[in-house]
Structures are given as C-alpha cells and as structure tokens.
C-alpha cells in the first residue's frame, strides 16, 4: 500500500507516493537522480548513502521514505556542491568520526601514528589511499586527496574494510605446511621454507625429466603486484606453456576485439568531459576496471546522459536515462541490433566511414538480412529501446562506453567485442577527448618482456594444438584445457600444479570436474593468505605475504598502461613470504637462477630501468601514467583504418567479419531447465575471497539468489529460505531474495561462495558455489577458449 509523502531534498519539495519498502535512498537515486549519494553496503556500515535529516547525519539506506515525510533533507549534492567531485567534503560527510579524529590531531599526528600514501591492492580500481599506521599496524585507509589521483573508494569501501583486518587476521597462514594423511583429510605438518622449496623443486624437475615441462602447470589469478609476472617468467624459463590465468574470461576477448578492429585497446577518457556514458555490464560504483565513479558524478552534474545495459536494476541503472534490461548472454544480438540501427538510419559519421573504414559494406549486408524484431526476441530488448540506445549513442559528442566482465564471459565475446569496437569507431568516439582513447605507455619494462616470452618461446601448440590462438599469444590456457589434460592426459598429461592468487575449486567452471582433476594430480602447491577449498586438497601450502607487507610494484590492469608503487608499510606476520620471493627462491632451486635474481626486490629496479630511475626514487613519484595524444584516426591496424573486415583474422583462421550466426548465439532453456541464471560481482567481496573477514561478512553473510516474486510464487518458494538451484552440471543451495526489478525468467545467483567456518567439510565448496552449476564446454569461443558463463539454463526448487 503506497503512502503520500512530502520530501524536501536540498530545498526542493516534491509530493510523491512511496511504498513502505522503499528506502529514502531508493527515492533519492531514482527520483531525485543523485550521483554523489550512493548505495554501498545497504546495511549502514559504509556511510556512502549518508544524508542530513533535520540536521542529523544518518544512513539513507536505513531510512524508510515514509519516515522522511516532512523532514528537511540535505545531501552531499548540496552540502559539498562547491567541491569539484570527490574531496574532503564528501569524505567528511560520509565518515564524520574520521573527520573528528583528524581535526583532533594536527600534523604531525599527536598520537604518534604515521601516514603513508599508497594504492589499494584489492581490486583493479587501485584507488589512491593514505594508510594510517599505529604501532606498526595499518589501522585505516583514508582516501588520499592531495595528489589529484583517483581516490574515491568503492561505495562499500571493501578495500578499506578488508585490508587492515586481513593483515591482522586470526586465521592468516603463518608457516609452510605439508599434507600428512589423505588428501583433504585436513592433517598438516609444519615444515621449513627450505624443505618446502626443495620438495617442490624436486617434484617439478622430476616431472620435467620424465614427462616434459608442459606436465607442470600453473594456476594464476589477477595480478596485484609483480607476483603474476614472476610466475609467468618462471613458467617460461621452466619450459611450460600450461598456465591458466583469468585472461580466458576477462579482458582478453574485448582487448583482442579492439586490437583487430581499431588497432589497439581503448580506455574511457576520464580526464575530459563526455556527453554520454554507457555502462554495459559494468558498475563503477562498486567495481572499477574502467570509467571512474568521479567521472559519473562529473558527467551527471554537467547534465550529461547515462545508459546502462544490465539484467539487474543496479544503482546506476536506477540513475540512468535509459536502462536496457538485457537477456543474460544476448549481448552479441543486442550489439548487432544497435549497429543495424546506426547503419540504416545513417547515424554514423559519414566521413569516417568513407575514409577510415575497411569492409563497411560487408557488415551492412550482413545486418541487412536481420530484423530488429529478431534482435528483440533474442535479447528481450524492445525495438524502440534498441533504436533509442543507438540514436542516443550516435548523437553524443562524445560518448565514453565501458563494457564489463559480463560481455567477456560468453562464447561469442570476441565477435561481440568487434561489433562494440565498430560502433565506437564509426560514431567518432575513438581517440577523442572524453571518448574511448588510445594510450601511450610510459617507459617501464613491458610485462611480456618480463615473462621472457621472446627469450624462450613457449611450446603453446603442445597444450593447445591449433586452438584458441589468442590464448596462445597471450600466455594462458583456459581452465578446461588444464582439467582435460589432467583427467584425460590429452594432449599431454599434467601431473603437478602450482596455484598463486587463485582458488580454482571455487573459480574455475565446473567445480566437480575441477575437484576430480586436482585430486588426480601427483602434486599441488598453493600459496595463500588463508586456508581455502583449494589449499584443503593441496600437498604443500605456503603462507603468502600480502600487499603493504612488502615493497611492490603494480602494473595491472594492463590496459591502463600505468605503474604504481605499493610501498611496504608493515612486516608480514609469521614466516610469510611475498610470492615474488617464493618464486625467486624456487627458481634458483630449479636451476633457473640465471634468469632470476639474488633477491626478488631487484626486480623492482629492473621494471623501472627504462624510466631511468630506481624503485626508491620511484616511490616518491608514486606512479607513472600514460599520455593521451588524441591523434585523430591513429588506427594501428595493417590498413591503418577501422577494420570492420580483417584480413589478419582470416589469415589466423577466424571469421574476418562478425557474422549474425555467431552474434545471435544463445543458450536455450527448455522444460527441464526453464530459467536463465546469471551472476554479478558481489559488492562486499573481491571475487571468491575474504569470506572470513568479519567487516564484510556482516554485510553479506550468506549466498543469496534473486528471483522475481511472481516466479517465486509460481514455484512455491519462500523468501529467505534456502532453495536448490540446478543446471545440467550440478546442484547447489543459496538463500532466496525477491527482486521486483528482474525479468521473471532470470535468476541472479551469487558467485564465489565457500565457507571458511566449515574446515571439516572441505570449507563447504560444494554447497553454494555457482561453479558447481557452470559448464566446462564445449561450446567454446574459438579464439580464446571462452565459455558462456552468464545466462545458464537452470531450475530452482524447494530445498
């Protein structure tokens, strides 16, 4: 039952009808369209939604709109209106106690605490932070507001909450351990670093001698510092091409698509103003690998427009001028429809098409054969919305468009990325200020060079044959290639695995198969912060030192073309070693010391040699950033034009033109599995990590699956109850939450769930882990080995 209220927000009074379950924040975002006031944690921990009500600061996420009736509401949009974007004003509004503490301690800090500037290492956003260090412990991470580097933390503050707690966590691994008893029995014996490294080296060299180096594999996660680069270097020097990295489902598909179409990857130009921002399967308020949140605020406040493509009504979807509620997995079809409209209504820049494209007529012909009604059926996006999206995008001068992970996790991600790149190019948004731009990297050692790929070319065909050529060129294999090589010993038998920055049991598709594969291995070594489902079945577990516990350089994400200093702020606990040291010392014992260093820290200077400075000197500079020249039409393709049709792709053996056959690919639901399951990054966590961190576990204590209330009714399901989600590949349980904004045919499950508190049960890896439900293919993206992970047919029933 709705209630009439009068809401006075920043001196503007509006009468409106609100539902009891609408928070004031819901109304501020959707009806008043505020961009500075954000939804972070939703439960009153983070302060991102802070407002003043009758002079008192409260969390608008915990205030019902009906209770705000007749009150005087002032938000950051007014209270910090004079500040250009995120600054001390907003920070003090969100964290009044910190402001008070700062006000009580004049420089130098009266309580003896130190302040050191650094960057967050939790997620690719790498916000600039000031670490507050007391008694050798990092106690807080404030936004660093002096340098002008991006400092507005994710709305939920996951780095600020997670990092200090992890550094002092009661369950941190402190010394090397080896398995005693059966694999997975949970019995461990403490060993020395010497014994650990000698054991690993002996095992690896034995396998190399008897079977070949390709039989030793590495499982690597997203780079934080140099550990990923060290591991790749080790793999190359050792002679193995069997290295799994996240590249198969993150960054590579769209990066390659841009490279083959436009000549190189692009990034959204946060430095200059755009008329329009498009967030396609991405939400910068919570995760950042592209457009900054500061940019969103800036553009919204300048009267710019926002379009969001997302099956969920995320907070930015609520703010958007146009929300495209897309069918999960149908981005290829939708992109084709948008391009068709741009072409047939002649919305593109005619001069660009005439002078700067190759093969334009071919895509015109390809898309002339389809109808927008077909696109609507495949994508669930009404024809008028496809048209509105296309017209709005083409009219903007310029538009910045960010496509996220979701668009990279489909079997046709590469071709979909090609269409998106073409759309960017022909609408004149490439390499213009405010648009999607090329970067000129500053001088530092290229990661590829650090990996020694030229010195010791990898025998990639040994493990990949002639498949997945982009994987071959980007130094990775997809995870399903690893599991097949282990289980079927095809094309080579893999016998050992070293895991760094990763939890394969939880994050590789088809967990049951991954588990079976790992259990079959002769030897598993894992470097970790905590025990996980993957360490649980390892032979040797090594305690890793983390960011801020050693000197580190961060160069990832690669498409930002920057390098950052992450200085050591405190000693690591126990006997923890940074991964770079683990790998460096292991390399020596493998007889590969010539390609490594006496001390892993020497690599820091080596990375910076091209810049003509030492790491110590670089620490003062903190970062080297790329430059943007905005040279018009600087396409580094063979033809020097936007290659709609790519001969180079044809030579490699892939379709030179995106085809409708490929773009329209959709996973089909059926009577047995009638719903479509997707997922998104869970705001409180970094992927599968940190479920044992209290400050974020209280924000999201359980794995939740969301569904439309009518569908839940139809299936006889009760909100809050554990329900069973099943696909062809497996069955899990998550707790049901009803969401009116979802399409009734869609189910949004939580990714990355396991239970640190269930040590006796393999940490509950089977219970709620979405990868119990995902397939390991085939079907594969022929260029990268990708699988469709968003939009998986499922059914949901009572537990």
């Amino acid at each position: 039952m709705s209630h009439q209220v009068q809401l006075t927000v920043n001196d503007e009074t509006r009468g409106m009808a609100v539902e009891p379950w609408q928070t004031l924040l819901d109304v501020l975002t959707e009806d008043f369209r505020l961009a500075r006031t954000k939804e972070g944690c939703s439960v009153g921990e983070c302060g991102a939604c802070s407002i003043s009500v009758d002079g008192k600061i409260v969390n608008s996420c915990l205030l019902l709109a009906v209770d705000a009736d007749g009150t005087d509401i002032v938000t950051m949009e007014k209270a910090t209106a004079g500040d250009e974007g995120f600054g001390q004003g907003m920070e003090d509004f969100i964290h009044p106690e910190v402001a008070e503490r700062r006000a009580n301690h004049r420089e130098p800090r009266a309580d003896g605490a130190q302040e050191v500037d650094t960057f967050c290492h939790l997620c690719p956003g790498h916000c600039s932070m000031t670490a507050i260090i007391e008694d050798g412990r990092v106690v807080d991470l404030e936004p660093e507001l002096e340098s002008g580097l991006y400092a507005e933390q994710c709305a939920l503050n996951k780095g600020r909450f997670t990092i200090p707690e992890v550094m002092g966590h009661k369950d941190r691994l402190l010394f090397p351990q080896k398995r005693v008893g059966e694999r997975g029995e949970g019995k461990w014996e403490r060993i020395s670093w010497d014994e650990a490294l000698d054991t690993i080296a002996a095992k690896f060299n034995h396998i190399k001698e008897t079977l070949g180096p390709e039989s030793v594999a590495f499982g690597l996660g997203e780079p934080k510092g140099l550990e990923f680069a060290f591991a790749q270097r080790l793999a190359t020097a050792f002679g193995t091409p069997s290295v799994v990295t996240p590249g198969w489902s993150c960054g590579i598909p769209k990066g390659m698509a841009a490279a083959f179409t436009l000549g190189s990857g692009t990034v959204c130009d946060d430095d200059n103003m755009a008329e329009l921002l498009v967030l396609w399967g991405s939400n910068m308020n919570q995760t950042t690998g592209g457009i900054r949140r500061e940019t969103l605020e800036k553009v919204m406040e300048a009267g710019g427009k926002l379009m969001v493509v997302d099956p969920q009504k995320s907070d930015i979807a609520k703010l958007a001028d146009l929300w495209i509620r897309i069918k999960p997995g149908s981005d290829g079809a939708f992109a084709a429809g948008v391009l068709k409209v741009i072409i047939e209504e002649k919305l593109y820049d005619e001069a660009i098409v005439a002078e700067w494209t190759l093969g334009f007529d071919k895509i015109v012909a390809e898309l002339a054969a389809i109808t927008l009604e077909e696109v609507e059926e495949l994508s669930w996006v009404p024809v008028d919305q496809i048209q509105e999206f296309a017209r709005t995008y083409a009219a903007a001068e310029p538009a910045a468009m960010q496509s996220g992970n979701a668009v990279d996790q489909l079997v046709n991600s590469f071709q979909t990325g090609r269409i998106i790149s073409i759309i960017r190019g022909i609408c004149g948004n490439v390499n213009v200020p405010g648009g999607d731009v090329f970067l000129t990297a500053p001088a530092f050692t290229r990661p590829g060079s650090f990996f020694l790929l030229s010195k010791y070319p990898r025998n990639t065909e040994k493990i990949l044959g002639d498949q997945f050529k982009f994987a071959q060129n980007s130094a990775f294999i997809p995870p399903h290639v690893l599991t097949k090589a282990i289980l079927e010993e095809d094309p080579v038998p893999i016998k050992a695995l070293m895991v760094i920055l990763s939890n394969p049991i939880v994050s590789y598709p088809n967990s049951a198969e991954t588990y079976k594969a790992l259990m079959k291995l002769d030897f598993i070594v894992v470097s970790e912060l905590f025990m996980t489902p993957t360490t649980d079945i390892a032979d040797i577990v090594l305690p890793a030192a983390w960011g801020m516990e050693h000197e580190e350089l961060g160069y990832w994400p690669g498409w930002y073309q920057e390098i950052r200093a992450h200085p050591k702020l405190t000693d690591p606990p126990g006997e923890c070693w940074p991964d770079t040291k683990i790998i460096n010392e292991l390399a020596k014992r493998l007889g590969l010391g010539d390609d490594f260093w006496d001390d892993d820290d020497e690599a820091l200077d080596e990375m910076l040699k091209p810049a003509g400075m030492s790491y110590e000197e670089f620490k003062d500079k903190r970062t080297l950033k790329p430059t943007k020249e905005f040279v018009p039409h600087a396409y580094k393709t063979p033809s020097k034009k936007i290659e709609v049709y790519s001969e180079r792709l044809e030579q490699i053996g892939y379709a030179p033109l995106p085809t409708w056959e490929e773009l329209k690919k959709a996973v089909k639901v059926d009577a047995e599995f009638p719903l479509l399951m997707t997922n998104a990054k869970e705001e409180a966590y970094m992927l599968s990590g940190f479920k044992q961190v209290a400050s974020v576990r209280i924000i999201r204590p359980d794995p939740m699956v969301e569904m439309h209330p009518r569908m839940a009714d139809k299936l006889g399901l009760t909100e809050g109850a554990w329900v069973v989600i099943e696909t062809r590949d497996g069955s899990i349980q998550q707790r049901l939450s009803l969401n009116r904004n979802l399409d009734r045919r869609v189910v949004v499950a939580s990714f990355g769930w396991w239970f640190p508190e269930q040590a006796e049960n393999g940490y509950g890896w089977r219970q709620s882990n979405i990868n119990m439900l995902t397939p390991s293919g085939p079907d594969y993206d022929p260029s990268t080995g990708g699988i469709t992970l968003r939009g998986v047919p499922c059914r949901v029933k009572k537990a």
């Binding site: 039952m1 209630h3 009891p20 379950w21 609408q22 928070t23 819901d26 939804e39 939703s42 439960v43 009153g44 921990e45 302060g47 802070s50 008192k56 600061i57 409260v58 969390n59 915990l62 205030l63 019902l64 009906v66 209770d67 009044p96 106690e97 707690e165 009661k170 969920q312 995320s314 907070d315 998104a680 869970e682 705001e683 044992q692 209290a694 400050s695 576990r697 999201r700 204590p701 359980d702 939740m704 969301e706 209330p709 909100e719 809050g720 707790r735 049901l736 939450s737 009803l738 969401n739 949004v748 939580s750 508190e757």
Partner: protein
C-alpha cells in the same frame, strides 16, 4: 546485487495502546519498528520477514531523558544513542554515557534507540552492561497493563527476552544510587564501530578504602549480558589490591562462556575479559580515589 527490503505494510500507532492492539492483532506477522538499525538489516538479509512494521516513532512521550524527583533516571525507550550521549547522563553514569558514544557510527547513533538495543537482545547489546551495573529496570506495557522487568531478568538468550508477545518497552529506569558511584564501560572490538567482541562495565561505590558496592557486567561472552557475581564477591567489602584485582578478573573470566566466531576465538575473548576487568577496576578505583581526595 544490492540488498532491497522485502514486501511489507507499515502501521502508524498514535499511542502505546494502539501499538499493543496492533501486536495483538497481527501476532508473529508484525514487528515493532523504531530506529530500524537492527530490524531493517535483518529484513534486507531476509532473516526477518514481518508482514507489518509497527512504526512507534511518532508516539509522543517516549523520547525523553529526565531525572524524576526521587532521583530515578528515566530514559524513554525511543531515546537515541546520540540523544543519550548529548544529555547530562554522564553526571549520573560515565559508563552509560560511554556506551552511548561508542555504539556503531555517528549515523547509527542518530537513529538507533536504547529500547531497540535492549529489545534486540544481542549478547553484545551496548547498553546492557552499564545498565546491569546500575541495576536498571524496564517499564513494559502490554494488554494487561504496565509492569517493571528488572534488566537482569530481561535477557533470556540471544535475541530472546521476557517480553510478552504484545508488550512494548516504554522506559528504562535507573534507580537513584545511594552513594557516589564510579563506573566505566569498556568495549573491545575489531573496529570502533563494530559490535563488541567482549565488553565490560565496572561500577564501584567506595567507603574510605573499602568496597561498599561493586558491580561487574560482561557482554558478548555468554548467551546474554550478565553480572559476574563471583568476581563481585571477590571484591565486596574488601580493600582493593592488585592481587584482588587479578583474582576478580580471573573469576570474571571463569564465569564466561564465549564462542568461537568470525570475530575472534573463545580463548582470546577470555583473555580480553581478564584484561578489561582488571584495567576497568583500576580505572574506576582511581576515579573513586580522586573523588575522595577532592571531597576531603
């Protein structure tokens, strides 16, 4: 996936009587709704799914903080932590003022009520330890009228109280203290804004060098906040020495039944209790001694 609220209807009682009638009518389907800083979170986590929220915030006369003519401190159930921190309660009890200042964040203190904090009955309820030391009681009104529930009979288990299904807490009553008291509240948590991993309130009334009255209450280390009576017995009537402080701290620890949870292990919590009781006693003793000197 941001957390939305489930479906519900909201009711606005104009009086305590209205609220009681609504509780009787809807039973398990309804919950009292004050600040919402516990209830709305439980609803967003889909742990509590009431069909009706009975919004008691507009009922008059439940927000005041006053000292009655007989010296009883009467705090309306809807007084927020911020209200209590800003009032003059520090003159009556430092512990109560400290609890009001350290609960949650500034934002939470502006909406969270003392009635809600106690009614939610978390083992770590911030206001419970100092109020147990002050031997406070709650005025509760239900279909059969008003009754007084001493706080030490109020908590039955985590989230469970002796409130009847249609009863509403209207006041917290702190009896006048016959002698000058000195008290403190200490909270141990990962971050200041977190719920306590272990908490302690210590209260002393001294006569010369001897303990006339001692109250020690502990939070977050048992199913309910409770008075550590064995520890109190160690000190009652005694002259406090370091040795006695150690014995009392040890006794207090032995009365706890902490659990392992995501915030800390049981053993660690016991160690924290020992340290907190010892340092709390020293702190309060010092305050008492300084007060004696000042009044001489």
């Amino acid at each position: 996936m941001l957390l939305g609220l489930p479906d519900f209807d909201i009711l606005f009682p104009a009086s305590v009587g209205d609220a009681i009638a609504m509780l009787e009518e809807h039973g398990e389907d309804a919950k009292l709704f004050a600040g919402g800083s516990d209830l709305l979170i439980a609803m967003k986590h889909k742990k509590k799914l009431p069909r009706f929220l009975i919004n008691i915030k507009r009922i008059p006369d439940l927000h005041g903080i006053e000292t009655a003519p007989d010296g009883t401190l009467v705090i309306g159930a809807l007084a927020t932590s911020a209200d209590i921190a800003a009032s003059g309660v520090a003159a009556i009890s430092s512990g109560l003022a400290e609890a009001a200042q350290v609960l949650g964040t500034t934002q939470i203190r502006n909406i969270g009520t003392i009635g809600g904090n106690l009614g939610n009955a978390s083992p770590s309820a911030e206001f419970a330890p100092p109020l147990l030391c002050l031997e406070a009681s709650l005025t509760c009104v239900g279909p059969d009228g008003a009754r007084i529930i001493p706080l030490d009979q109020f908590f039955l288990g985590p989230g469970e109280t002796s409130l009847g299904p249609a009863e509403v807490i209207t006041e917290i009553r702190v009896p006048p203290q016959a002698e000058p008291i000195h008290d403190t509240y200490i909270k141990h948590s990962l971050r200041r804004m977190d719920v306590a991993m272990a908490s302690a309130a210590i209260l002393l009334a001294m006569d010369g060098g001897k303990v006339m009255r001692v109250r020690i209450a502990l939070g977050a280390v048992a199913p309910v906040p409770f008075r550590a009576k064995k520890a109190e017995a160690v000190l009652a009537g005694q002259t406090i020495s370091e040795e006695l402080i150690g014995l009392a701290a040890g006794a207090a620890t032995s009365e706890t039944t902490p659990i392992d949870d995501i915030r800390g292990y049981a053993g660690y919590r016991r160690d924290v209790v020992r340290d907190m009781v010892a340092s709390g006693l020293r702190q309060v003793l010092k305050a008492a001694e300084e007060n004696e000197k000042a009044s001489v």
